[in-house]
């Protein structure tokens, strides 16, 4: 539990909690971006450079911008999100606290803090390329198919109907 990990964990948790709790939708998305940056830094801490940079490129450069566009297009006036009534929050928080309790009990009760941990290895990007083209070529092709289907599907779903409604 080094000091770097504690700072990054604090930043990530603060960002994600703010993303779920703030009133203004745009502020939620910006706090989510902060959480993504914290997560990318944690991936870099874990020596997964490729995943860390892909996280920034895809999530911040893609998903966050997409969320912002969706908020802009679906707001009539000011982007204010009702926080929901108190009953929702109590139930939701209770369920989430229960899930966290079960997970924490499983983690602390397992043998993960008793084993010896391996040393760091360096993963050159070429190894990832080889892995993608040799062992993981079928998932790669299926990902291509999935992305094409998702792209076409999102355009079809979001296109306005020509006649009838405006």
């Amino acid at each position: 539990m080094t000091i770097t990990f504690l700072i990054l964990a604090a930043v990530t948790i603060a960002g994600m909690a703010a993303a779920m709790g703030l009133r203004n939708l745009i502020h939620c998305v910006l706090a989510l971006t902060l959480g993504f940056v914290g997560l990318a830094a944690l991936y870099l801490q874990l020596n997964a450079q490729f995943v860390g940079f892909t996280q920034i490129l895809v999530y911040i450069g893609g998903v966050a911008i997409l969320a912002v566009f969706a908020i802009m297009t679906t707001q009539s006036a000011e982007p204010v999100a009702h926080p929901g009534s108190a009953a929702y929050w109590i139930t939701g928080s209770a369920v989430a606290a229960g899930v966290f309790a079960v997970l924490a009990w499983a983690i602390c009760g397992s043998g993960t803090h008793a084993r010896a941990l391996p040393a760091q290895i360096d993963v050159p990007a070429q190894q990832i390329g080889f892995a993608l083209m040799r062992s993981y070529v079928l998932p790669l092709e299926i990902m291509g198919l999935l992305l094409t289907v998702a792209l076409i599907g999102a355009v079809v779903v979001a296109t306005p109907v020509r006649k009838g409604e405006l």
């Binding site: 502020h27 911008i65 566009f69 990007a125 070429q126």
Partner: protein, 395 residues
Amino acid sequence: MMTRVQMVDQIFVIAKHSLLAHVPAMWQPLCSAVLSVVPVMIVFPLLFAITTILERKGLARQQNRFGPNRVGPCGILQPIADGVKSLTKEDIVPRSADQMVHLLAPLLLVTAAFLGYAVLPIGRNMVITDMNGGVLFFFAISSLVELAVFMAGWSSRSKYSLFGAMRAIAQMISYEVPLVLAAIVVIMAAGTLSTVSIVNLQASYTGIFPHWFVFTPWGFTGFALFMIAATAESNRSPFDLPEGESEIIAGYYIEYSGFKFALFFLGEYLGMMATSAMAITLFLGGWSAPFSFLTWIPSYVWFFAKLVALICGFIWIRGTLPRLRMDQLMNFSWKFILPMTLLNIIAAGVWRFMPGGPLRWLVCSALIAGPFIVLGRATSWQGKGVAVRKYRYAE
């Protein structure tokens, strides 16, 4: 021992090592990092100042007028006057603006712009950090700029700035895909994502000619596509509709004044210089000399010479071409630039697996030039025939 030429070439590295020797061992990593970063943070804003005066004088001469010529001999000290002006101007924030986001947007922009310089090799052995995934890091950081643009446009709570921000983000997203695809050709050819390795691969010579990637058909096309996409990514003319001065006044930074406006300006130009520097690293051989008999000139001199040449190219294009409309811009990106980058990747693959010789050159050039002509005609006619223009003069 080093020859005198090598000593001049490595003078900054030698200076840094000799300064570090005086520092106690515990502080050495921190001081090493500081000594690497501070020169970059001084040199590139200086280059930004030189670029502003170069641009104003260059544009002025293209438009048949003098540029600024009051401050200093031939107006050379104009950036100092501009700096003093922007530092002392009143910082006006609209009352209905979102204060926190309004403040953070230029900071995020400048931070993202500066972070991109961390992986660019400025000279032999002169890079801030040699990352395994350097090129990927650069493109990931430049995607932070889009978010900063949105924050600036939305937080000002003004219709002009929101329009400008939405247009700017749509343009940046549309041109980010061809930018990355044009860079992927180089990564395919070099087999590595590390910028230092890519430059080292280009720094060898056959006869007197260098092995720069721009001297191959796919490299030349890739360079051209990369520079077009880079112009659009930095919102420079002819792609500067989001900040078109004659249309929506200043687009997403319309409500900013004083120091924050200067930060936006700085961030935009730094981004332009960083992308040019990445183009130099990927295609133009980084710090290597163009001919083998010119290697006695230090490597950092070549890097900055190429950078200034590319910046002059940007200024030249700004003064020459008219602005593209939004739909023309998007059509250009998705229907022309993107298919050309994909064809370029195929051409680079063909180049890699064919035996060397004139046939390889012919096949790859035909693979790129044929669709270029076909696509160019298909996207420019837009269904209407090209008619002879009839002029009507006032009677």
